[in-house]
Symmetry: C2
Subunit: 297 residues, 2 copies
């Protein structure tokens, strides 16, 4: 199957699982279900669940279980975007070409919808009757690993460092790496990890796919910085130049656009090299990495 077909098939399965789990609820607190559904069905690349699914597929594991792990991570990713967009954080009005959650539902409802998505991720993860092949031990390990990567040593830690860097003039590359390896990198790394756990992978395989995901995550962020600078607003679904406007240090402001491109490209090569042990089985993941380099949004 060619790459695009396979990617679309993965995304269709992910979106179907999300649709089935975020339905309208006729109750007094209906608005919070509406707000969660609004944000999680707003599209997006589904990179994290695609990674879980593709890694598990490569390793011949249980796909419905990897799908579940990946969709839980997508819930956490979506909650983090809702909270990041709030007025006390980035104060953004648009996300993927649509009003942000708080613009549509108000601040309090958006705050609670974010909390709701984070909580739902763990309820959904721990629903053992819904799995096909994995053991309770594996599911518990997945809960632990996802929570750790989403927490203060991981994603939230990166968000905090991002806030601390705001308005600072001399943020260095080491700090920028520290920030992004956590803020976006950790969830991307754990997405690959849980795909491997759904396949009961060995240590070497786990090491290889997480190394791949770490390099991919940083390349992805650098590409984001480049697109914020020279991207197409329509394709991005948000105004460009917001980093410059907020006087944010990015890989582009720090290295210049050419060196930033080179760094992203080198990281992509490193990511692909990490998959060598899998030979031809890694074809999809390698193409995914190359594809993310060429993306417009």
């Amino acid at each position: 199957m060619i790459f695009e077909e396979k990617l679309n098939e993965y995304i269709m399965r992910i979106n179907a699982e999300i649709e089935a789990n975020f339905t309208d609820e006729d109750c007094l607190q209906r608005v919070v279900y509406d707000a969660m559904r609004y944000s999680i069905t707003a599209g997006g690349k589904r990179l994290r669940p695609v990674l879980s699914f593709a890694v598990c597929d490569m390793l011949g594991g249980s796909l419905p279980d990897a799908l579940r792990f990946g969709v839980a991570i997508e819930c956490i990713h979506t909650y983090s975007l809702i909270h990041d967009d709030l007025p006390c954080m980035d104060n953004d009005d648009l996300r993927r070409g649509m009003p942000t959650c708080h613009k549509k539902f108000g601040e309090a409802n958006a705050l609670l919808a974010g909390d709701g998505l984070l909580t739902r991720a763990f309820e959904y993860l721990a629903d053992f009757g819904a799995y096909k092949d994995v053991t309770p031990q594996t599911v518990l390990k997945v809960v632990f690993e996802i929570a750790k990567s989403a927490g203060c040593a991981g994603m939230i830690g990166g968000q905090i460092v991002d806030l601390e860097c705001e308005g600072k003039e001399n943020v260095d590359e080491k700090t920028l790496n520290y920030l992004h390896n956590r803020k976006t990198g950790e969830l991307i790394r754990v997405s690959a990890l849980v795909g491997a756990l759904a396949a009961d992978a060995g240590e070497n395989e786990i090491k290889a796919v997480t190394e791949f995901a770490k390099k991919l995550g940083l390349a992805f962020q650098i590409q984001d910085d480049i697109l914020d600078c020279i991207g197409d607003e329509k394709a991005l679904g948000k105004p460009i130049g917001s980093d410059a406007e907020n006087k944010k240090t990015t890989y582009v402001t720090l290295l210049g656009i050419d060196a930033a491109r080179e760094k992203a490209s080198a990281l992509t090569s490193d990511a692909i090299r990490a998959l060598e042990i899998f030979g031809d089985r890694a074809k999809f993941l390698k193409e995914l990495a190359l594809n993310l380099m060429g993306r417009q949004n």
Copy 2:
């Protein structure tokens, strides 16, 4: 052992576990650890972990495991207070006699400290190596039950209905019950449930302790409404009359103070009656229910 001694012993064990798990962290995102620690060590009655611990103790179960379950619930309770106090929610300056988390650390850090506590609760819960006697199946069930009770069908749902009721003149008792059975009731119910699960309790025992906790939770809320009306500000650590000022419908505004007291007292009797099957073993829990009725904060 007399009631107060036993209660203090429980609370000391709970606080020691919290202190050991919320230490200073010397890293770039240090402020989020400081903010979490500030809020979770600010005292409070520790009602939820006390319930988990006491139920497990009554049933002869594994106390270190019940402690772990209960402390995770306390993390979730604390995150909900931090988010509830935020300007877009209740906009409160004081909590337990101290500045609220956002007054001390700023809004963005408080938002993320709340997110961090919620995420940490699940990381801590899923850390299977830290348990003594429970199976992975039991831990997964506990993760599931806690997430469900903290989510949109539970605590968050109650917070949403609370927001929806704000400023409305004709909130009826049915809606008020719906709200509080979720906003405060669900976490109190699940605290008792997980204490029973740590003791591998049977169906009848689980039914009895959760019935107890449900009645106790609603009595607790009514007592809160009464204290907000006639309590002592110093003992409460916050100004009284805030409900009236915010034009909130409470059990006191709805029923009057005497009928509210009667309702709380009747619910406490119901709670105690639910424990009959345990005979003398339920002495502590019964005294706890009576004690909560007489509290000043």
